[in-house]
Symmetry: C2
Subunit: 270 residues, 2 copies
């Protein structure tokens, strides 16, 4: 099993790459091919748009690569996502793709283009406390399709997004069809008023209103709201679901943390 | 000229209300009717949704009110904006409306509903240093339609929005038609990566792509971007305009400050 790592958003830390390489070597069931582009730096990004796109397209076209693992989030994959899925080589369809957070732009566009994508931990997560668990879970899924790595309540077809990323996907060329989907969302580092505003935007979408249900993962590092918002994260999500006729399905086991579980974006017609 | 003040978002400060009342009395050409709802407080908001909506609908229906002035921004007008413009009483059409920032949700929905709205300073602005200038400009426009209060480069039809608010308007029931519009945007308290992400989202809209041109007001209190983003605010806006085929028309004289000028949302068919 050959897994290519590229960084469509921000720069991967060397120590994360080394630690994940060591874990893969220890397992002995996969080979990690960390693309040098992952360590580039150009302002906010892991190299200029052209370099990030070229590295991604290169591994997508490589028939010897079985899976593509996005190195980390941050910001920037939206700047190359539409070009990444244009004129797909056949070899791009014979592999799987994993990431979360900002990589949601790619998950959306690639799923829409018919590729086999999954929400799940990324290499840089190994730097979190307990990160080996997250990386082990990601590899268990990528290598073995180990069902114990999955979010436990999934009712396929399913998708997962950072809520703020999802809001920015809507109306763009990357927006997938949400009809009948078990839609899992999570967020971090936002004020509750922003969570409320983003849910206003997301739940207004006729496409999102066609989900089977919406479930809420963890919301981490909520920033101070002055004055106190007056409602908690789950009440906010439930309120907008109620207003928009979306079924709220309860909590989901995903988030920007090492407990984050895998959500394959399965489609009805696969 | 009777001007009603209501607070569809956050609570108006008493000292702001008193100072603006004093300015209006000094002028002698208008009467400010500050609705008691403006001082309510319920968590983040100036009272519950029901109270904010009821106050707004009450003054909209009042034939003795010539203009409605939104007390301040913050967050929350989106929660009542769609209901505010449903089944409009005829008297709502015979008056003008002014505000900016979060009130952009109302400006959007009200303009779409055919009401006479304008981007401009709000009563709470009097608490900014030099706030009397902003309030004077707002009243000069509301009372006298003084053209010297206008953004100087307007090519009607024009609209103005906080960019983050505009992003959250897209795809909702409030989204107006941007065809041929001189679209002015400004923002504040965002990291540059968020400005870039928001421009990705906004410039992807086929509706926004129909503007005559897009112009950039001031971007205040930019939050630290780690690492440095690598491009400035104007370069970001120009980049996404270029990518999306939108004409970038240069800077605009609007922003979250006391220099903020008036932008009437004129429509072709008015």
């Amino acid at each position: 099993m050959r897994i290519a790592v590229v960084a469509p958003s921000c720069t991967l830390k060397r120590e994360a790459a080394d630690a994940v390489q060591a874990m893969a070597a220890e397992r002995g069931d996969c080979e990690l091919q960390i693309h040098p582009q992952s360590f580039l730096s150009d302002g906010h990004f892991a190299g200029p748009d052209e370099a990030r796109l070229a590295a991604l397209r290169e591994v997508m076209a490589d028939p010897d690569v079985d899976a593509i693992w996005f190195a980390r989030g941050g910001y920037g994959s939206n700047r190359i996502a539409e070009a990444a899925v244009a004129d797909l080589p056949e070899s791009a369809r014979a592999k799987s793709y994993m990431g979360y957070s900002d990589a949601g732009f790619l998950l959306a566009g690639m799923h829409k283009a018919g590729l086999d994508v999954a929400w799940g931990p990324m290499p840089q997560d190994i730097l979190r406390r307990g990160g080996e668990d997250a990386i082990g879970r990601a590899l268990d899924w990528l290598v073995d399709r180990d069902a114990s790595a999955l979010e436990p309540q999934l009712q396929p077809p399913a998708m997962a997004f950072n809520l703020t990323i999802l809001s920015n996907v809507l109306g763009t060329a990357l927006e997938p069809d949400f009809t009948g989907v078990d839609l899992l969302v999570e967020d971090l580092s936002e004020q509750l008023y922003r969570l409320d505003r983003t849910m206003f935007h997301v739940s207004a979408s006729p496409n999102v209103r066609r989900v089977a249900r919406l479930r809420l993962g963890r919301v981490h590092d909520i920033l101070a709201n002055d004055p106190e918002f007056g409602a908690g994260e789950e009440a906010i999500i439930e309120d907008w679901c109620r207003r928009s006729g979306i079924v709220y399905g309860g909590r989901a086991d995903i988030g920007h943390d090492t407990w984050n579980r895998i959500v394959p974006f399965t489609s009805e017609n696969r």
